[in-house]
Amino acid sequence: MTRSQEVDWAALRASAPFQELVVRRGRFVRAASTLLLGWFAVFLVVIGAAPDFAGTVVFAGLSIGFLLGLSQFVLAWLLTWLYLRAANTRFAPLEDEVRALAGDAVAEGPEVAR
């Protein structure tokens, strides 16, 4: 428990780049989770409330329920790709800024505070 006392965590948390990071990432995570869980709920509700509708074959032997299941994969891949892109281009630079504010000693130190 050495270095954690040397860093003013409250000040870092209140710093502009960290606040921007929290707002941006938080907005993304909330929107993505809502969409993800919402579409998951739609899938389940359609199966439960309208099994005949879900069993309707649209084309090539694929039923609406099967396609809704497949769309869960597509949405998961899409959200994953969007998050990775946002993290690499928008969140990572902000993380670097916050780490720079704290000084490299903490980030690079071999004896890490716990």
Binding site: F28, G55, L62, G65, G69, A87, V106, P110
Partner: protein, 518 residues
């Protein structure tokens, strides 16, 4: 006994033991034992995580369920990726940034160390042992069906291989066994998929319509209801796979094996991609087995459908008794065996971390003497493995393992998920809240299983809790207990360290270095 298959199994065990010998020379310190020296790259770790999910239960189980009940078998694979997006959005980077070896590290960061570690470690060990027994029973049954070797030696051999990987090779061996098996399984899945598509002229319409025509259900094969599950059962199972999977300790600890948060999120991305591709292939394999296998294959596939994929391999290779058929089924069987070996090793490792790092080093020794942690972990791994093997042998081959998987996923969803999520995101969250949530989620899961259709002595129809998986109750109760425990406690210290956890977990400031000096 089938010689080709036994040779394939032996070859596989030989390769993985060679990997273990190699890994054991690089496994000395605690960071090497628990986290492979944080030397695994994002894509490698993504393959290993995918490997954890692509178990015998998903490869043989999902394809079998689609063979038996058509559309209903497709629900579980469809919802599982939800868990991996949640892991990427909520846990992957933060685990790497704020933890060392175990899930409890992240919780104890801002909460009172000893009580919260003890509770988290207990639920980790419980999840691991339950899952382990389920996998080992499955392994014994599967090996018996595939090679003719009987249940007891099959379980003991599987258990010994698993212990060798973990005790000697630690996380490095476990990870590489998992990677090898993931690649083999993807190859096997692709071969089966291409085989099915060739036989159906690359026309999905032919595939699905033939499957429906060959099934007793007819067109209803492509609609919900084939499994006879109630709606509440379907929702509970879906929640278990979508939420419970996201909080499985043996998957979360994989994020400690990469150098930094960037590799952590990259590994979650690779996992989502690979698991998705694999699950889409299981649909072609499962429906393909129904479309192509002759009706007489029905009894051989079994009540659980587990042998649909191996039988399909035999059919695609040229049929029973042909060289091609024998070879293909030997390959698919060996891969199925490999998935069990790799998954059980990961489970033992997660439990040994909870015992050695959480209970022994931090709860009993209060973090004062961590030099012997690796030795304790090896002993703990051996002990947990032996206990699981003994329980498996006592349960025997006819034990219903489906409810064990439900129990493990439900404890993860109800006990681990709420506490971990709130520790990372809710400023007011307290130790009392975390412990209340973990205990409530755990107890609810166990009680619902005990009162549920799987084990209720009066028969499934008379069970007081009519749903097989407890998640529908366990998740809300877990969150509610976290909230009530927090509101009722006067503890305030956790709010100060929340600042530190926020900055650390979101930026990687002061995170565990790639090669920690020990």
């Amino acid at each position: 006994m089938n010689a080709t298959r036994l040779i394939a199994f032996a070859l596989l065990v030989g390769v993985t033991l060679a990997v273990t010998v190699w890994a054991s020379r690089r496994t000395r310190s605690a960071t090497e034992f628990f986290a492979a020296g944080r030397s695994i790259s994002g894509p490698q770790n993504g393959l290993a995580i995918a490997g954890d999910l692509m178990s015998a239960a998903t490869f043989l189980g999902f394809t079998g369920l689609m063979y038996l009940s058509g559309f209903d078998g497709w629900i579980m694979p469809s919802v599982t990726l939800v868990a991996f997006v949640l892991i990427l959005l909520l846990f992957a980077e933060r685990m790497r940034n704020a933890g060392r070896f175990t899930v409890a590290d992240v919780l104890s960061f801002r909460l009172r160390d000893r009580p919260v570690r003890a509770a988290t470690a207990a639920s980790t060990v419980l999840v691991a042992v339950i899952y382990l027994v389920a996998q080992l029973v499955g392994a014994g049954v599967l090996i018996r069906a595939l090679t003719g070797l009987s249940f007891v030696p099959a379980v003991i051999l599987t258990g010994l291989a698993m212990l060798a990987y973990v005790v000697f090779g630690g996380m490095l061996a476990t990870t590489w066994v998992q990677i090898i098996k993931a690649v083999l399984l993807l190859v096997a899945g692709a071969a089966l998929t291409i085989g099915v598509l060739m036989r159906t002229g690359f026309d999905l319409g032919v595939l699905f319509t033939t499957a429906a025509a060959n099934s007793p259900a007819g067109d209803a094969f492509l609609a919900p209801g084939g499994s006879g599950r109630s709606f509440l059962d379907t929702v509970s199972v879906a929640l278990a796979f979508a939420i419970g999977t996201a909080a499985l300790p043996h998957i979360l600890i994989r994020f400690f094996t990469v150098p930094d948060a960037r590799q952590a999120r990259s590994s979650a991305g690779w996992a989502t991609g690979l698991i998705g591709v694999f699950f889409v292939m299981t649909a072609v394999i499962g429906f393909g087995a129904r479309a192509l296998l002759p009706a007489e294959a029905g009894p051989a596939v079994g009540k659980s459908g587990n042998l649909a994929a191996p039988l399909l391999a035999e059919f695609l290779g040229g049929g029973p008794g042909t060289f091609g058929g024998d070879l293909f089924v030997a390959f698919v069987s060996a891969v199925a065996f490999a998935t069990i070996l790799a998954v059980v090793a990961g489970l033992v490792l997660s439990a040994s971390g909870a015992v050695a790092h959480d209970l022994w080093a931090n709860v009993v020794r209060r973090g004062s003497d961590t030099g012997a942690e690796t030795t304790v972990a090896r002993v703990a791994a051996a002990g947990i493995g032996v206990v699981a093997i003994v329980i498996t042998l006592l349960m025997g081959p006819n034990f219903n393992v489906a409810f064990l998987v439900g129990l493990a996923l439900s404890v993860a969803a109800g006990a681990n998920f709420p506490a971990l999520l709130l520790a990372l995101t809710w400023r007011r969250f307290t130790t009392t809240g975390a412990i209340a949530g973990i205990v409530a989620g755990l107890v609810t899961s166990v009680v619902c299983i005990a009162l549920g259709p799987s084990v209720w002595p009066g028969g499934p129809g008379a069970a007081p809790y009519p749903v097989e998986y407890p998640t529908l109750l366990a998740i809300p109760i877990g969150f509610l207990a976290c909230w009530i425990g927090t509101v009722l406690s006067a503890e305030r210290g956790a709010e100060r360290s929340f600042d530190e956890l926020q900055v650390r977990s979101q930026t990687g400031l002061g995170s565990e270095p790639t090669s920690a000096a020990h």
